[in-house]
């Protein structure tokens, strides 16, 4: 607690942080560049100067950098002081000497922190009339464009990319007035978080290349509050649309989940929405050809099929919304609804849900992961399966600096001091996975083993922490010693954390992780667990308690049925023969927004909405329900587009003219029908929510060209689409933030506040800068942990004994393993070539050389891939990259036989 005096006003604040952060939290504007709430202070740019006084009587004062000055009790400062204002304007004028006057052609324009700060300081006229320094730009890959002339040398890019995200291929070159930020040579930026450079850079050095070809100013785009569907974390995103296309994805701040940062898969994977080959009309298959039909006829055709007397089976999807899955369950009946997950995925997700429900270990969020001081990663390559968690994990390791700062009484927001104090010391992170990960560099120790052996290590750690948990027989000395070492490190920590998940496809691994988290509880009530699940709505589907995909397909194979498949490509989940057998004698109705292999076989295909054209709710790995809202109405630009949410099609199929009116009704019924979903409607305000009688605008106040947007189609401007499903309006009309009235955080479509056009505007929506959004971070927790102490899991698996066949370990990829993002062209450029990974010993035994083609037989399928001999892989294991071309759907733990030759 501290009292500070700013320009004669007195404020009661928390104290301890720096004056810049404190003043921004108080809603006072001080311009800055090198400071960032997630990157702390280095005092490099001198932009945040204010005048500090000894006391109330001091009239002289001295200029200090507010980001480097601690907020202590009885601090007296002035932001308005004339000398400070002049100083700040001078800084901008210095920066401007070399900054090009290219705002009209710069893609940062309109959401540029440098523009905002220039206006804020009042530096309106450029006086420098001489030559500016210029640089050659680099080719940085499919995501990021580079324009070094615009650089103001704030160093935020390298402080994010290297210090925060652990990148190694972005550097600073030269010195003094000739400083260059880029790679050592041209080439793709390697970090999976490179996209954040576009938001971290205060000007237009690093911009979004995927946006560039169809560029639109921020103020001309229409945004919506949305949720990323690229993994189970549920990062909040803000897609921007113009002319019926998603043009870019921006980060939408969420204090507990994504904070200020997204992964590249989430940011650049939106291209599937804009694909030309998407189904946009209703298609009915006649004589082997697909023909577009109108909605009435198609729905009648489907109704006839549903009433033909055959059993009707519904196959839902963990990448579809709760609403769509619920509507399908309503249409086909509870007993005929499948969750659309493979038996293994469904069982593992169900197990994760059970662990969360049983408690007592709390489920970690990315922001709580950052505070952990000892971490075990058991079996999960989170950089591939839940990338945002891997970025948080890196901060947990670096948290050592905070502890050391506290011991030395140095504020931990002094970034340069913290880095110097900690050098390379990190909090202990142990990475036990089947194969090497790209976060091994922060590991105190790594351990490579097949899933059952990882589980055995996990059980042994739990036993070392609590002797009443099951012991592991016959563990080798080295592993036993590692278990002791990890147990000791977790025990010595204040906030230990276990990260695991469904990634290595083995229940025993998840059970062992749970045992560890539970064994820690007695001594460490702050110990947490984090379990990544396969897809964006996997936990949501687990709450439906439905049968799995194999069971549904077995029924269809046994008896000719009508299969209604919602947003699910069955061929991506199970071997083609198994799917073919089920579809051979069945009628197939598909609702999807992509023309998948399954969709191509449909007798009738209904064009479903992607996240951008529809509303829905997803439930993330923690059991947090979050609503995503329609970004735009595609029919506004093209009346022939019939795209609608799957739940809306299913509702119309079932109820015809009596179809429900809006999303709220669907949610209310889902809540009533499924007790596990209780509370889901509260994930966001409903459609009747208004502020002073007005809806909330999706587009910024300055959006231009609305009356002319459709003039090429027809000269009269139609009424903008009316949104019956939410409190948002499809235009710039309504509450847009200009009036200073808070919108609920769930309904914030974009970051903009008066004077703040850049993503730094998020600081205006937080109760405390860098903390929770005012009104609370979005989402409702549907999974409640019981307080009771659960019984330990006890099914300790046997060690893997190589017996000739190899055990399949799925290797998830950041790019390529997730279905929808892999349909985006920029992502496709980053997907690695397919391979099959073998240990050095197995390769020698089989006589296989690196890059030589091998033939693999597993689950009745035979295919060939180039071998990759990897020293990190344990013996007896075949590592296969999930989802890459030429790799069929995998079942983790299957036995594969491998032979030389294609």
């Amino acid at each position: 607690m501290a009292i500070i005096h700013v320009d004669g006003k007195q404020y009661e604040v928390k104290g301890g942080e720096n004056l810049l952060q404190t003043c921004l939290s108080l809603g006072l504007d001080i311009p800055y560049f090198c400071w960032h709430p997630a990157l702390d202070s280095v005092g490099a740019c001198r932009q945040c100067a204010v005048k500090q006084y000894k006391d109330g009587d001091d009239k002289q004062g001295r200029i200090v950098m507010s980001c480097m000055t601690p907020t202590t009790d009885n601090t007296w400062i002035s932001i308005d002081d004339e000398e400070s204002k002049e100083f700040r304007e001078t800084i901008i004028s210095f920066l401007m000497t070399n900054h090009p006057h290219d705002c009209p052609v710069c893609e940062e324009g309109g959401h540029c922190h440098l523009q905002d700060m220039t206006v804020m300081t009042g530096h309106h006229n450029r006086e420098y009339r001489f030559t500016k320094r210029t640089h050659r730009n680099q080719e940085l890959g499919p995501f990021i464009a580079h324009e070094m002339n615009r650089c103001i040398s704030c160093y935020r890019c390298v402080r994010f990319y290297n210090d925060y995200a652990g990148g190694t291929d972005l550097g600073v070159y030269g010195s003094a007035a000739n400083v260059y930020f880029g790679r050592e040579k041209d080439g793709t930026l390697e970090s999976e978080f490179s996209g954040n450079l576009t938001e971290v850079c205060p000007t237009g050095v690093f911009t979004d290349k995927t946006h560039s070809e169809r560029y639109t100013r921020k103020w001309d785009m229409q945004f919506s509050p949305s949720i990323c569907a690229s993994c189970s974390v549920g990062c909040n995103i803000s897609p921007g649309e113009r002319y019926g296309e998603v043009r870019r994805i921006e980060n939408r701040y969420h204090g507990e989940l994504n904070g200020y940062f997204l992964c590249d898969r989430g940011r650049f994977g939106y291209g599937h929405v804009n694909r030309k080959d998407r189904p946009r009309q209703l298609l009915v298959s006649k004589d082997g050809r697909r023909e577009a039909m109108d909605a009435g006829d198609t729905l009648d055709f489907i109704r006839q099929q549903l009433q033909a007397g055959k059993p009707v089976l519904g196959i839902g999807s963990p990448r579809a919304s709760i609403e769509s899955n619920y509507a399908l369950r309503e249409l086909v009946g509870t007993a005929h609804f499948s969750n659309g997950q493979t038996a293994l995925d469904a069982a593992l997700t169900r197990l994760c849900l059970d662990v969360l429900r049983q408690g007592p270990a709390k489920c970690a969020t990315p922001s709580s992961i950052e505070d952990a001081d000892a971490v075990l990663v058991l079996g999960e390559d989170v950089l591939a399966t839940a990338p945002r968690i891997a970025l948080a994990l890196r901060q947990a390791a670096k948290g050592k600096a905070d502890t050391m700062c506290a011991e030395k009484k140095v504020p931990d927001w002094q970034a340069a001091s913290a880095k110097d104090i900690a050098q390379r010391l990190l909090n202990p992170v142990f990475v036990a996975t089947p194969a090497a990960t790209r976060f091994d560099d922060i590991a105190a120790a790594t351990h490579r083993a097949a899933a059952p052996d990882l589980a055995r290590l996990g059980y042994a750690i739990a036993h070392a922490l609590d002797a009443s948990s099951p012991a592991v027989e016959g563990l080798d000395t080295k592993t036993a010693e590692l278990a002791q070492r990890i147990a000791a490190a977790l025990k010595a920590a204040k906030r230990p954390l276990v990260i695991s998940g469904t990634g290595c496809g083995d229940a025993a691994v998840i059970q062992a992780a749970a045992n560890i988290a539970w064994a820690l509880q007695a001594s460490h009530p702050a110990a947490e667990i984090c379990l990544a699940v396969p897809e964006s709505n996997s936990i949501g589907l687990a709450l439906f308690e439905a049968v799995d995909l194999e069971a549904a397909l077995a029924r269809a194979a046994a008896q000719p049925s009508v299969l209604v498949v919602v947003e699910n490509d069955l061929y991506a989940r199970l071997p083609a023969a198994q799917v073919d057998a089920a579809l051979a004698r069945s009628t197939l109705i598909v609702l999807d927004h992509q023309d998948t292999r399954t969709a191509q076989r449909a007798q009738a295909l209904l064009p479903a909405a992607s996240f951008a054209e529809g509303d829905g709710t997803l439930i993330n790995y923690e059991g947090r329900a979050q609503r995503y809202f329609q970004n735009f109405d595609p029919a506004y630009y093209d009346r022939s587009v019939a795209v609608a949410e799957s739940w809306r099609w299913l509702d119309r199929l079932q109820n015809g003219d009596a179809a429900r009116e809006n999303l709220d009704e669907v949610l209310a019924q889902a809540e009533a029908a499924l007790p596990a979903l209780k509370g889901i409607a509260a994930a966001a305000p409903n459609a009747s929510f208004r502020i002073k009688g007005m809806k909330i605008a999706r587009a910024p106040q300055r959006q231009s060209g609305r009356t002319a947007a459709r003039a090429n189609i027809f000269v009269h401007e139609p009424r903008s689409t009316q949104d019956a499903d939410s409190a948002l309006a499809f235009s710039m009309e309504g509450v847009n933030g200009a009036s200073g009235v808070d919108r609920p955080p769930e309904l914030l479509p974009f970051a903009w506040a008066p004077g703040w056009n850049s993503p730094q505007a998020w600081n205006k929506f937080q109760a405390e800068v860098g903390g929770a959004l005012r009104g609370g971070d979005p989402g409702v927790h549907l999974v409640k942990a019981a307080a009771s102490r659960p019984a330990y899991y006890s099914a300790v698996p046997a060690a893997l004994k190589p017996n000739g066949a190899l055990r399949v370990e799925p290797l998830y990829q950041h790019f390529g393993s997730e279905e929808l993002s892999s349909l985006a062209a920029p992502i496709q450029q980053r997907i690695p070539a397919s391979y099959a990974a073998l240990s050095v010993g197995d390769a020698a035994r089989l006589g296989v050389n690196h890059a030589e083609r091998i033939s693999i037989t597993l689950d009745g399928q035979t295919f060939s891939l180039p071998a990759r001999v990897r020293p990190d892989l344990p013996a007896g294991v075949l590592g296969l990259p999930v989802g890459l071309a030429g790799v069929p759907p995998l079942k983790a733990g299957s036995a594969a036989t491998v032979a030389k030759g294609a």
């Binding site: 550097g171 070159y173 050592e184």
Partner: protein, 171 residues
């Protein structure tokens, strides 16, 4: 007639840069002086420069791997220090002090004389590859201004009339 240089297959397959045994030995020796490979960055760059006169671009990833840091990090060090040469230099490098004491004691006459006699300007190398002319900030010999340094030898005070004789000593 085409004037393109003939590309030889053998050249294409040659690794672009290989450390000599001597260079590798010196870098490994430097590594023993520090707890952290990063600290040996300058020593490692100087080792290569000692043998080759300069540090080619292709050398950066190789040296970086030898001391266990990223190429981007090492390139940052190699471009920060003006005495790590990133372009070929002449057999002898002339560094003319342009700091304040030498400014007062005849630095510009000295520079003009060097430029006249060598026929080159700052940053350039004579056609015969004998001299490279560079400015340098303070040589720490303010009592002997105007000063210049050729290779490792300090000269000063130097008057324009002395230049020819001094240059003659560096073949």
């Amino acid at each position: 007639m085409s004037t393109d240089k003939v590309v030889k297959l053998a050249d294409l397959n040659k690794p672009s840069f290989v450390l000599s045994d001597e260079e590798r030995h010196e870098i490994e020796h430097a590594l023993t002086h520090y707890p952290d490979g990063r600290a040996a960055s300058i020593d490692a760059l100087k080792a290569v420069q000692k043998h080759r006169g300069w540090v080619p671009d292709d050398a950066i990833p190789v040296i970086a791997a030898a001391i266990g840091i990223s190429a981007a990090d090492l390139e940052g060090v190699a471009t920060f220090y003006s005495l790590i040469f990133r372009r070929p230099v002449g057999r002898h490098v002339i560094k003319v002090c342009d700091s304040i004491s030498c400014h007062l004691t005849g630095y510009d006459e000295l520079r003009d004389e060097l430029e006249k006699q060598l026929g080159i300007r700052y940053g350039q190398t004579t056609k015969d590859g004998r001299y490279t002319l560079l400015p340098i900030c303070c040589l720490g010999a303010c009592d002997r201004g105007a000063t210049m340094m050729i290779d490792d030898d300090l000269h000063g005070p130097v008057e324009p009339k002395d230049v020819a004789a001094i240059l003659g000593g560096y073949q």
